[in-house]
Amino acid sequence: MAAWLKPCPLWQTEWEIMEVEIVAELKQTPLYPVYKDEAKLVPFAGWEMPVQFSGIKVEHEAVRTRAGLFDVSHMGEAEITGPDALALIQKLTTNDASKLEVGQAQYTLMCYPDGGTVDDLLVYKKAEDVYLLVLNAANIDKDVEWIEKHAAGEVTVRNVSDETAQLALQGPLAEQVLQRLTETDLSAIKPFRFLQDVDLDGVRGMVSRTGYTGEDGFEIYLPAEQAADLWKKILAAGKEEGVIPCGLGARDTLRFEARLALYGNELSASVTPLEAGLGFAVKPEKGEFIGRDVLARQKEEGAPRKLVGLEMIGRGIPRSRYPVFAGEEEIGEVTSGTQSPTLKKNVGLALVKREFSEIGTQVEVGIRGKRVAAQVVKTPFYKRSKK
């Protein structure tokens, strides 16, 4: 890529890291050989990943109106097993994993004692005493170390990231398309539920009704060596409906419109889940866990900062890390922002002091040295209509 093309804000962290380590070996998912010639590839969290295939807007629209297929094999997976597995998960995470039934998944977070976020993740209960944790790619090593450090009693922690691939088929037609590959009734899988060992035209995987796009859809976990086979089968099955391969660019604009947090943007070691508006996944009443004191207090009294939506009034696009002002006071910063492909509006998410978080509050965004008018608006920017 040309030197002129400045690192884009949403990948900034990764680019900065890359520039330091320059040719640190980039990892590739098992699907890399399948799409390397048709996708535009970028370094992301140490991986060489497709940022787009046919174009971010086209892919975004495909997922909102039909369905799109994503390779998210860079995501990490850790298996926690043993009689003390649940106790370990309860100690590490903010949500209440004791409520999970076998076949159910839960969005949750791991926090530091000060309430800052280690990572956000999904916990799958595969069997009594068998859990699968799905981790952000950039955080795998840090997370596994954190989990192992707190493991006590009869529990085994296994990092199965390298042997596990993950495909996400997302969009209103996802079920219809995937159903062509299997006898298993997919309509029976409700949101945040999953089935294991599903036969998808000869490929066996775990099929979960979850996603990161704000649409209906599935995330499929399977052995790495079978990922290419399933990728091709899903695209062939959805050809008529216009199912297309999608990259991380569209994944980001989709999750952004749906106000789904991205670690490194909305979440970090210095941001608590309550500041990021994730109080629904924090359950102080479940008992002791790391970070509970701070989070319980913030839940009761309100957090000092709040994640809000911003819509530009003046000309400009809010981008990650741009400062936000009210009068002369700097009140926070933008965490993610773009031109929403669905709304065609220049919008952002920003972490601001709580007293400036009310809908309609007039603020300014510092865009490369200029102050541009914006106002606090409701989020999510996009919500799908229920069937």
Binding site: M1, A2, A3, W4, L5, K6, C8, P9, L10, W11, K40, V51, Q52, G55, I56, K57, G249, D252, T253, R315, G316, I317, R319, T338, Q339, P341, N346, R368
Partner: protein, 128 residues
């Protein structure tokens, strides 16, 4: 990659078209628009602004990127493509015609000598 022979090219991926009377029209190349992807916002100077060669004069944003535009020549801005305010996608669709950005009256026409012809520019981007 479309690289019209009659244009000159800068290392920063702008094209420059001589229009007589020391005036040049400026835009970004087909290669640049393709690398950027869907362009959603273009910020340009105003008529009357003075530009200095190799200094930023505006920016172009795609869904995921912000890139600065660097002036290939010094001079005064005499025309700005205001259509790009509402139709930034013109830069993707026709980088050498509807996607033009500004017209500059050069203060130092010898700036043109530093620019590349189509074949040299092609060589540069192919080497990247």
């Amino acid at each position: 990659m479309n690289l019209p022979e009659e244009l000159k090219y800068s290392e920063e991926h702008e094209w420059v078209k001589e229009e007589g009377g020391n005036k040049v029209r400026i835009g970004i190349t087909d290669f640049a628009q393709s690398e950027l992807g869907d362009i959603v916002f273009v910020e340009l100077p105003e008529v009357g602004d003075e530009l200095e060669a190799d200094s930023p004069f505006g920016s172009v944003e795609s869904v995921k990127t912000v890139s600065e535009l660097y002036a290939p020549v010094s001079g005064k801005v005499v025309e700005v493509n205001e259509d790009l305010e509402d139709s930034p996608e013109n830069v993707n669709e026709s980088p050498y015609s509807d996607g033009w950005m500004i017209v500059v009256e050069m203060s130092n026409p010898s700036d043109l000598e530093k620019l590349m012809d189509a074949s040299k520019y092609k060589e540069m981007v192919s080497a990247d």
